[in-house]
Amino acid sequence: MSDSIDRQIKEDQLLENRMGRADGVTTMAGIADLAAKPPKPPKHVKGERRQPFGRWFVDKGWRHLVGIAAIVFALLPLAYVLSASLNPIGTLTGSNQLFRAFSLDNYIEILTRDEGIYLTWYWNALVISVLSSLATVLLCAMGAYAFSRMRFRGRRTGLLSLLILQMFPQLLMIVAIFLTMIWITDVFPAIGLGTHAGLIMVYLGGALGVNIFLMYGFFNTIPTAIDEAAKIDGAGHARVFFTIMLPLITPILAVIGLLSFIGFIGEFAIASVLLTDPKDQTLAIGLFQLISGFQSQNWGIFAAGAVLAALPVMILFLLLQRYIAGGLIAGSVK
């Protein structure tokens, strides 16, 4: 799908090139400021020599300036955390000189502190987010399959109710969720307050509403001829679903899985209410408590913990960003 978009763009842009215009150039108010800066020596000479500098600047040069400014804005905080995590001084003031020192002291400290509580948080966060997002993906796929391929009474009402329900985040019901969990603790302590299973159950309550529409739309794009052929060959509904439909919708499963994983691993409010024992808590709560009240003195180890916590998520995101962008756009534009 993104391929076709790309093709479209290229055609669009080729056309614009022929017409000798760069869209939006004259629209931006900031250009005046940017243009007022002293012109850079024309370094990019290779293919652009034929273009005089003035035209090159109006066409593309200013875009590079904006791009560099945007990158500085985007990356400065990230570079700052990385630098702070490598700085052995470890206080807030000591972290201000970017990349002046290199030491892994902070990393060793965060990993060994309190008998390795950081790794416990990390493990908890991973277990909770992985299980929740896997279950979310499965429940959503099953629901979307039913809504897309079956006709039953209450189908439209069901879809509409989900559409309305998803407007109300679980955060709004946090008090009632907490009190419900207290009650569940009395009956089933194993899935009550302070347990990971309990937290995962709560997360699953919000699973259907948020993601089912993306999945539903995707199911609808798959021709029914495929499952019908399988049925004629004698496959039952479970076989059709698990061995034919699920592989076909893998891209959207990956997108929803990843997005919900990122959401769950960063969820703070509900987790902080349900998990009270430090040994059960997740990264978000642990790192928050690490510097609440001790911002200055714990800064270095916090930064190290933050880098370790953020890296896997960011790598995963960058690897899959094509699909994510595709999924977001599919959910919006199509």
């Binding site: 978009i5 479209q8 290229k10 055609e11 669009d12 842009q13 760069a22 869209d23 939006g24 150039v25 629209t27 875009r63 904006v66 791009g67 985007a74 955390v81 807030l92 003031t93 972290s95 099953m142 039913a146 897309s148 391929r149 079956m150 006709r151 879809l159 559409l163 407007m167 709004l172 019901m173 946090i174 008090v175 009632a176 969720i177 419900t180 009395d186 089933f188 699953l204 309550g205 919000g206 259907l208 739309g217 609808n220 029914t224 049925k231 509904h237 479970a238 960063g266 703070f268 409010a269 978000a284 928050f288 510097i291 998520v313 995101f317 960058l318 962008a325 977001l328 756009i329 534009v333």
Partner: protein, 533 residues
């Protein structure tokens, strides 16, 4: 966002079939359609669910909670019916998701509504019996002529108990819950604390409060040092017939006031109270009490402003960058695009914490390095704090808008633009009159969704400022950058000022109404925008 699809099922879906399942799937008489393995998995899963349910029923009936037991039985019966009966396919696929949805999304909405009509909170936490017991316990004083009992303190798991040598010569054992009972030694499994442990568990030992007999008015035994105990009796005596407490020293009578408290005639109440339904009081309190009314108005205005400005700022920056990088032969376009969306990949909770450090007034990076040692109170001045919250949220959110706008820009139809060019429209004109409106149609539902999201954007506020700086004119733990959802969280779970679940739920319901209005507007406007399209 996706309501388009609900309106018009695509043409390639099968035509409407009779309800109750999809007869197109295979033979109907079989127990399962997927062979032996599927059957085994199904039976095992159902077995686990049924086993859990039987355990739950056992506990619930033991507690005498018949309503819950009946409900559990009905739900489990339904689940078994759905998965054992051939057919009912939609139910087979929807039940797992709907089960969790029903409890943790639908039920809790109604439960929130119910709690908002009660006085549930730290001061009214439990039943009336518990409240009575606790009042007796907390109002105790040492009986002046109480003899000293020799005691030993015992521990099992996190429970503590006391073995008492009675004046008559026998010994008795009791705990906080269990009144003293004659026993020659502590029960099995209880370990005696040595002196070191007594010191280590000092708080628990001091809190040990063993009732002398079943009648709470007889008093309890307490030990200050783990070796000798004295009888403490309550200065408040509970009279069951009159349902009132009498202070044995002053003679003041505290009677049940119908609102979950024992209250004297001069208005003084005993703590704790107990849970009762108090009707609209929480709402009335929120709108009339001056401790909360003005702050609530300010928080509400700021919530709208924050959500609106955040959405606009993120959209503006995202759209601007999307346009800047949307050039056919721009070098390094891909690198720009990837680097620019990095903030979106950085976890939200870390964003707030990291920026909080960078914006620190004395030691932060922004003041010390970028502004050359300035002393700007980014997070402690109300207006600067609001500005900081907006900027940080822009850093966090523009990448999403950038992705969306890039996609939308790239999928604009060429024929319209070409036609406009034929008609002699300039670049600006094309942008203003064609691209922007088309783009807007595409992203309008997302803008509304983003607004709704920011309306409850807990993480940024809570991690960056924690809602501070505090309002000077209220004792509630709320401040200038608090939005409604952080206010709810703090009132319900905050450390300062006592937890008040009832009030927090009432505020939740207010947010609920606002969100519902946004939702209604969003459905309408997406429809009207589609008509435009």
């Amino acid at each position: 966002m996706a309501d388009v699809k609900t309106e018009a099922p695509p043409a390639n879906t099968p035509p409407k079939r009779p309800r109750g399942g999809a007869p197109e799937f295979g033979p109907q008489r079989k127990l399962t359609s997927g062979g032996i393995l599927a059957l085994v998995i199904k039976v095992v899963l159902l077995g686990i669910i049924d086993a859990l349910a039987i355990f739950g029923l056992y506990v619930l009936i033991g507690k005498g909670d018949w309503v819950a037991a009946a409900l559990l039985l009905a739900v489990v019966g339904l689940v078994n019916y759905i998965y054992l009966k051939p057919g009912v396919l939609p139910a087979k696929y929807l039940t797992p998701g709907l089960f969790f949805l029903a409890i943790f999304q639908v039920f809790v909405i109604f439960y929130t509504g119910y709690i908002s009509f009660t006085n549930y909170g730290d001061a009214h936490n439990s039943t009336k019996e518990d409240a009575i017991a606790q009042i007796v316990r907390t109002s105790q004083e040492r009986v002046p002529d109480s003899p000293a009992y020799a005691v030993e303190v015992y521990k099992q798991a996190d429970q503590f108990g006391m073995l008492v040598a009675e004046p008559g010569g026998g010994t008795a054992f009791g705990t906080n819950e269990q009144p003293l009972e004659d026993a020659s030694s502590a029960p099995d499994g209880w370990d005696k604390l040595n002196l070191n442990q007594v010191l280590r568990f000092q708080d628990e030992v001091l809190a040990l409060n063993v009732p002398v007999s079943d009648d709470i008015n007889d008093g309890t035994l307490r030990t200050p040092d783990g070796t000798t105990a004295f009888v403490f009796t309550s200065t408040l005596e509970y009279d069951e017939a009159a349902d009132a407490f009498t202070n044995t020293e002053t003679g003041v009578v505290y009677a049940d006031d119908g609102e979950g408290n024992f209250r004297a005639e001069d208005g003084q109440a005993l703590t704790p109270g107990w849970r009762v339904v108090i009707g609209w009081d929480n709402y009335a309190y929120a709108f009339t009490n001056e401790q909360i009314r003005d702050p609530l108005i300010r928080v509400t205005i700021w919530t709208f402003a924050f959500a609106f400005l955040s959405t606009i700022l993120c959209f503006a920056l995202g759209l601007f960058l999307a346009i800047v990088f949307n050039h056919p032969t721009l070098r390094g376009k891909k690198i720009y695009r990837i680097l620019v969306i990095l903030p979106y990949a950085f976890p939200t909770y870390l964003t707030g914490l990291v920026w909080a450090g960078m914006l620190n007034q004395e030691f932060g990076f922004i003041n010390e390095v970028l502004l050359g040692g300035a002393n700007i109170p980014w997070l402690s001045d109300p207006w600067l704090a609001r500005l900081s919250v907006l900027l940080v949220n822009m850093w966090l959110g523009y990448a999403y808008m950038f992705l969306v706008c890039t996609g939308a820009l790239q999928s604009l139809p060429d024929d319209v633009i070409e036609a406009a060019k034929m008609d002699g429209a300039g670049a600006w004109r094309i942008f203003r009159s064609i691209k922007l409106p088309l783009l807007f149609v595409a992203v309008a539902p997302l803008l509304i969704a983003t607004f709704a999201f920011n309306f409850n954007n807990f993480a940024v506020i809570f991690m960056l400022t924690g809602g501070n700086p505090r309002f000077p004119d209220t004792t509630l733990p709320i401040g200038a950058t608090d939005i409604m959802i952080t206010m709810v969280y703090k009132i319900a779970f905050g450390s300062g000022g006592g937890r008040d679940y009832g009030l927090a739920s009432a505020l939740s319901i207010l947010i609920f109404i606002v969100v519902a209005i946004i939702a209604a507007i969003s459905f309408r406007s997406t429809k009207s925008l589609e008509d435009l399209h």
